[in-house]
Symmetry: C2
Subunit: 339 residues, 2 copies
Amino acid sequence: MPELRKDPILGRWVIISTERAQRPKDFFTSPEKSDAKNCPFCGGREGMTPPEIFAVRSNGSRPNSPGWEVRVVPNKFPALRIEGDLDKQGRGVYDRMNGIGAHEVIIETPDHTTCIEMQSRESVAQILEVYKLRLLDLSRDMRFKYILIFRNEGRAAGASLSHPHSQLIATPVTPKRVKEELTGAMEYFNYKDRCIYCDILRQEMEEHTRIVYENEQFVSFCPFASRFPFEIWVLPKKHHVDFHNFPSNEFPILADMMIVTLRKLGKALGHPQYNYILHTGPLRRPRKGYWTTIEQDFHWHIEIMPRLTQIAGFEWGTGFYINPTAPEEAAKYLRQVDL
Amino acid sequence: MPELRKDPILGRWVIISTERAQRPKDFFTSPEKSDAKNCPFCGGREGMTPPEIFAVRSNGSRPNSPGWEVRVVPNKFPALRIEGDLDKQGRGVYDRMNGIGAHEVIIETPDHTTCIEMQSRESVAQILEVYKLRLLDLSRDMRFKYILIFRNEGRAAGASLSHPHSQLIATPVTPKRVKEELTGAMEYFNYKDRCIYCDILRQEMEEHTRIVYENEQFVSFCPFASRFPFEIWVLPKKHHVDFHNFPSNEFPILADMMIVTLRKLGKALGHPQYNYILHTGPLRRPRKGYWTTIEQDFHWHIEIMPRLTQIAGFEWGTGFYINPTAPEEAAKYLRQVDL
């Protein structure tokens, strides 16, 4: 059983994932490169994954058989386990609980060789719809406080299989980074009575120096305080808190936004490895206290982080980032990329 | 001039380092591997660095000539610049200031081919003494709020030159990560009237499951909530806030601790790339408010982070870490390594 442990000074949680136990010798050789020959995510190899949780099967094919378009399965080596109780305990200065949660893989296509930005608008809209459905389903489990959807593209970005896929982790505590965003947005709202993300959007669209791409409903831009070169945020133009309440008929427009933005990034930088994360509102909203005003003060968004530079001692020691490319330069370059 | 920019939601600062400007094409090819032939840090090539700030020259040799044992020079491509004013400004929702600070390189030896854990106790004690002297000197500059000393070993850990060296950055704002540590330690002290690091040490020495090495004055251990496999913290056993006030006659004992711990790590894992950071108390202590009790509630320490796993979307999105090796396993393994 994985264990959640809390740093007693910083309050940050870590997952000690004994399921994935690694001993010193495991770090000497890097894991074998996956290829299409043995890929468990490919169409026709449904038996190689745990039984599916959900799949889009427009042709009415049976579960765990070929014929799907998007398929969701439990992670075979989950960082958190779905069965059990939290069993929170203190041991002296330390706090721990069982590593309860959900860890799912969203296989975006049966085709091993494509990538998300090369798929059609309709296919990408379908992937986004699956994100929404999984968020809706898991939000009913009262043990979970937050659900993160993320995508690791490339080995340096943490992907262990090259087949196009996203992941989802539901956690029994609100993660520190998410809490900080919620608190920051709440404090701004309390002071100004406006959503900070809406204010950022307004300023970005006026200044237009950091915009990458804009369509009817969405904007992508390199944030003012970008941590990484060519970091990009994607936001809906209209104020909207929860991804799982976002109208599905707008997903084709979001799909266009993701496809164009990721293609520009890929063309500008030679298909860099990257991570993207979806930050949506928290699942639980106490009537009083911390998140009272959350319905108004948060704004879902996607953060795309290309992995071009190394994180070094300075970043680990301070939480400060050194970014060698001004976001204005990066955005200008990306705007000019012809697709 | 580099620029400091604040994320308006998280309050996190980033350094947009225009001095190191990188355009898209720079990310396509990785920089050339440095080798001893052209290394500007080697003895005899003193003219290849900016003029030295400080050097240990027991033989009385002249500045910027050969004959030194440890040599401190300004970073040739500084993330922050020493000259100028902060010129703090707001622009709509955003805050920025000039990137004022110090960025120095501590060249640990004229010998290109050694590494810190293969040096003698006396040599390492001398490096630690230089850390202390630089902290003391820079703490007099009232523009600086914090000084971080750190070491990047290996290219994946962010080192651009392989010659043994540490770095120092003095920043005009207290970094987020440091503030969180100070706040966490203060809150614990306010509640318990005890230093949290002292309590952690007591529990670690009693349980003895996560201890790596112990000598007269210091302990190294894998922290309970380790973010990374084989993460190790080094603490003085006696309560001590500021590294720059630490008695110099104890540096040979700290040198022994660092040498033994790093040798164990190197032997266990085949000389992994790593970062270490020194967290000491902050430079400025207001009489009232935040850090009133800091003299008692902080405890300097060194965090060693081997770079064995990738940081992926989940970590970026949550601030949560997934660690595949229990610290108890890692410590047991390291204790058993014969040197």
